[in-house]
Symmetry: C2
Subunit: 409 residues, 2 copies
Amino acid sequence: VSWQHDGNGALRKVKDVRTHVGEVLALFREHGELSRTDVIDVSGLSRSTVNQRLGALHAAGLITDIGGGSSTGGRPSSRFAFNRSRAAFLTVDIGATGFVAALCDLGGEPFAHTQRSIDVWEGPRAVLALVDSAFAELLERSDAPEVWGIGIGVPGPVEFRAGRVVNPPIMTGWDGFDIAGWFAGYGVPVVVENDANSRAVAESRPRGADAVRHDDLISLKLGTGIGSGLVFNGQIIRGSDGAAGDIGHTRATASDSSAPLPCRCGNVGCVEAYAGGWALIRDLAAVGVPAADVAEVVSLVRRGNIEAVRLVRQAGRLLGDAVADLVSILNPGSIILSGQLAECGEVLLSGVRERVYQRSLPLATRNLSILVSSLGEFAGVTGLALITADQLFGTDNIDSLLTRLVPAA
Amino acid sequence: VSWQHDGNGALRKVKDVRTHVGEVLALFREHGELSRTDVIDVSGLSRSTVNQRLGALHAAGLITDIGGGSSTGGRPSSRFAFNRSRAAFLTVDIGATGFVAALCDLGGEPFAHTQRSIDVWEGPRAVLALVDSAFAELLERSDAPEVWGIGIGVPGPVEFRAGRVVNPPIMTGWDGFDIAGWFAGYGVPVVVENDANSRAVAESRPRGADAVRHDDLISLKLGTGIGSGLVFNGQIIRGSDGAAGDIGHTRATASDSSAPLPCRCGNVGCVEAYAGGWALIRDLAAVGVPAADVAEVVSLVRRGNIEAVRLVRQAGRLLGDAVADLVSILNPGSIILSGQLAECGEVLLSGVRERVYQRSLPLATRNLSILVSSLGEFAGVTGLALITADQLFGTDNIDSLLTRLVPAA
């Protein structure tokens, strides 16, 4: 792509000189290893151009020569691999009551992590100061790797280009705060993304040799609150104002005729007010089963506490009701649950499945999978690293990165 | 883009030789006119490469030289315009009870059209034979223009790559029928698309000099039935099985405690069974106001018939209820109504607006517009021509088109 539109339909010049180097790198990011011949075949570029692109990526240390390819006689074509450990991304997946911070390699894999308990209502300065200290700890523990970017995940709607939270239903005090600006001192690009969106990206990308991309999926983040991330046609749907995916504050289907329950967002009757982690803690307390946090709810379910199992199953059904119409209309290939509450596994999943298969159009559920993420607590940071890499290695920015890495080039 | 993934994540070679000629043509398709200097500035390509690309497009007759550009002294830079009338597309927008067939120019503008009444339940052979005769009439009337592609819109889920209808809730007898194959005799590429998707594409593209792209929109087609097309990030969301957008057969919010109404799809309680054109005809009959078709319903509303106004307003509210959660979760920038029933204008629109603004999350409606399409009965064929052009002029196919047009090149 040699030009791009800004938000107003005007054209903006984008240098084309090295476009293909970004596309060649994208091949390695997706496939890990490729021979010179593979790159020529797949890209359709001439051998001399491919040699030049591979040379530039190799000089920058972004790919490494891993020796001869699968020779079928004649001279073996040399093979190259994406050098995931060339540098790292600092990432943090902020939830309502805690965060996971991690150093991830360029392929999105976390190799060092730490956690903190927080209260997101204490506002951005208090929370981001803790993030700074967690980042410092990670950098110290990991022999100060080169950091090429920072990815911040937050549980609210994000204006992606500006790196700000906008009109969050929760996260009082964060509205309009310049999160990207807070991290300016690191001197690297900063990406701010909604927590559920980053998980959706992590789920959509292939993992392992035979894995495939999931181009159409809904990711549900179930923690203290409830969020969803939508990836369709392989891209995050952010919506016109960055508010897409906010399923937790849509209206729950009333299971009985009682008055709608108040939500922590100030409204009543939200899905979160019935099926969110905080609502489960409230309901457990009401039946005399105390749980201090979502981790304890999960632990109660795992130990087979009857009330906890009943409430979580019921939450799954309500969640399934909320997702069912979305499935009918968007026809995703998979729904993937992550977040602390997802650790309840089948107890939660069975309720979601029951209602989605019951209520969604048959056409839309023929090939649908509903599963718990295999990424565990690292779903968020993995996605953040991938989104940061997409930005850094995208055709807009790859030129300046390469110029910095190989000044003579 | 120089390579593409097939459905299984495998890479497929795509020739790169003329990629940029497709991208240069895309510039003209969007902007209409550009000077040589504009193209150099916007594309970032070298002057000599741009000269070569413009030469190829000019030789093929896809752009025409329209003389000197806005000179600021010195030699004027020559200007070129997209030659929309170089050839034409045959398009047909099939509804449940009739179709509009049109010859459209390469920019999607219809310049000759005809209509037929049909019954989509008579099956593909009967209906497509009528389409053939309509196409023949158009070609005869228009001095046999060169036809470069065919676009067929149908009121059901489409497997886009295969050009077939799959598991339609209505359209009995069409399931799996090879629609693209039916038109093989024309010897040009055939695109088959869901009717609401084609409308969504038509609405999303800029029209006129200062118009902007609408990257995130929901298009509602309101005729005998109800369909929706979703364009987000500028792309149609087809979903994993091509079933996305089927809002007409999602569950309607029950306004009272009476039994859910039967739908023509065989299910009960669908949105269409309350707010579809056929349901309005049924409800008008029940109060002693006969209407033979949707056109008569519209005419009754326009003449101020009290029952018709009341029922259409009520249908608008029910439709608004069905769309409200979708707005909360997808955060579109606009909702655009088209189809015969949309000719009811404000009577219908006010009900939709009332419920969407009442029930959707405030965040998601801050910048939302809800309007009736300005494309009238041509929304479908315009979108079909644009989708056909996207295919024909895309980087996959532009090479072979240019080779055919300028064999020496």
